[in-house]
Symmetry: C2
Subunit: 293 residues, 2 copies
């Protein structure tokens, strides 16, 4: 019987930590503030916006909604991003993409300041993940995987780890983050021959393949911990399932995250925690600048 | 008997390609130009400068020497870097580091434009390697390893590869570059337990451990190609040797690079090729801008 690594207690711990941090920031006169920039009225953006707002406000993070018309010009959009970059009262910016047709999402991504890039999408944030420095923020899902491993005290140093998937939002970043924590990391992807022969030798596996139930017991071993990042529509169940074939894998591994109820829940929490962290960094930066004066 | 992957023919091929590219750029009125920025008179900088100048001029790349006094102020140094960034006649900048005491090398690195960062040291270049996009240039040694593999037509797609070492100038970058070429990559480092058990399962190994002769035959297999990036002082020989214990490993692998005479020779050539590439990109960028007018 494997240990089930649920996301809920991780979320609870992160929320407590954030609430504490926000309180202490407010004592210093700083209200961590998230700007959500939405262009147009895509239903999925609206739904995500609502959820993020609720989560932010629950821990005391303020939210400003920057809603722009779908027919905004590129120049006007650029200006809005620059205004958010320059506004010291905004600590983090969540920018919905894709943008409506005619607008250059790649340009928007490049314009955003890494310091406010709580979603980990700018080159600055990605360079930060690659070089292991505090530039920007890691993509939230990648960090959520690490938060789960940390919460459940899964050892990483010197351990064999495999990542399945090499996307910039998960696989590639999580591989670097595991490596920075001294794991020996192998990166598998669509061109890997015999993924099971790689993962079955590993103590820790992060699967972000996005392929329903592909991860059978031939991929696993009894000392393995699996973080399942897959979010796949499961017709048979009429709901969401992960990459792991839970029923056959759960009995043969040491620990694994469920889907739903695993990493997914932690991801949106990490997004909000980046706003708090950005506010803390801004405060530290301001203090340093004051000292230099 | 393994195939010995010498650097010389790779250098020759790269030089021919560069000479051709430079000729065609000059026909369009562009002289690819390298600026070498040196602060002070460190003997190793002077020696490297002399070598790079010779290699550049051999293929028609012009060199400008920007020599600054060791007691220059940070502000004056910043200005010099900004001038080089802004000068359209300079395509690549080689900036010697470490800088003399009192000057901030990290600040200098951050100031340099990724477009001119032929040494692959800026965050822009590193983000480019990580995201597989044409921002800046990869560190030269990492690219040299790939150039050798390409020249000798070593297949990478779907192959198992291991990188020993996780430095930003070699290991981490070469791992990403192998992954972008569809290899399944494992990254080993000082905290890896039993490196041999990882490398011995691999078709391609890049070793950048910087440890004389540590790589014995237990790390190898008969279908393995090894790129030895190690440059270690070999007391017994009174010269330079690699990470690989050549005598015992050469008989049991498919192919390997010698040290000296392997990757090292290719590295400085890659540096010059980045100047040519930067000039080509600048020209393409100018043409695009003209079209938009």
């Amino acid at each position: 019987m494997a240990k089930i690594l649920k996301g809920a207690p991780v979320v609870e711990m992160l929320n407590e930590r954030m609430t504490e941090d926000v309180r202490s920031l407010k004592e210093k006169g700083i209200v961590p503030t998230l700007a959500i920039m939405r262009v147009g009225e895509r239903p999925e953006d609206l739904s995500y916006e609502k959820g993020a707002t609720k989560k932010a406000e629950a821990v005391g993070v303020a939210v400003r909604h920057v809603v722009l018309p779908a027919d905004i010009t590129q120049q006007a959009l650029d200006n809005e991003i620059m205004k958010l970059n320059g506004n010291p009262e905004i600590h983090g910016v969540l920018m919905f993409r894709p943008l409506p047709e005619g607008l250059d999402g790649e340009r928007a991504r490049r314009l955003l300041s890494p310091e406010k890039d709580i979603d980990g999408c700018t080159d600055g944030s990605l360079a930060g993940v690659f070089t292991n420095s505090e530039v920007g923020f890691p993509p939230c899902t990648a960090q959520a995987a690490l938060e789960v491993l940390d919460y459940y005290k899964v050892p990483l140093r010197g351990k064999r780890a495999a990542v399945v998937g090499r996307s910039l939002v998960v696989g590639r970043c999580v591989a670097m983050m595991l490596m920075h924590r001294d794991a020996t990391v192998s990166i598998c992807h669509t061109k890997t021959e015999d993924v099971a022969s790689v993962t079955s030798r590993c103590d820790v596996v992060i699967t972000a393949a996005g392929q329903l139930h592909y991860y059978g017991k031939e991929y696993a071993n009894e000392s393995q911990t699996i973080i399942d990042v897959g979010i796949n529509w499961d017709e048979a169940k009429g709901g969401i399932s992960g990459d792991v074939d839970f029923e056959t894998v759960e009995p043969v591994v040491k620990a694994l995250t469920p889907v739903p109820g695993g990493v997914g829940a932690v991801t949106s929490c990490v997004l909000i925690s980046h706003v708090v962290e950005a506010a803390k960094r801004a405060m530290a930066g301001a203090a340093e600048a004051a000292e230099r004066e």
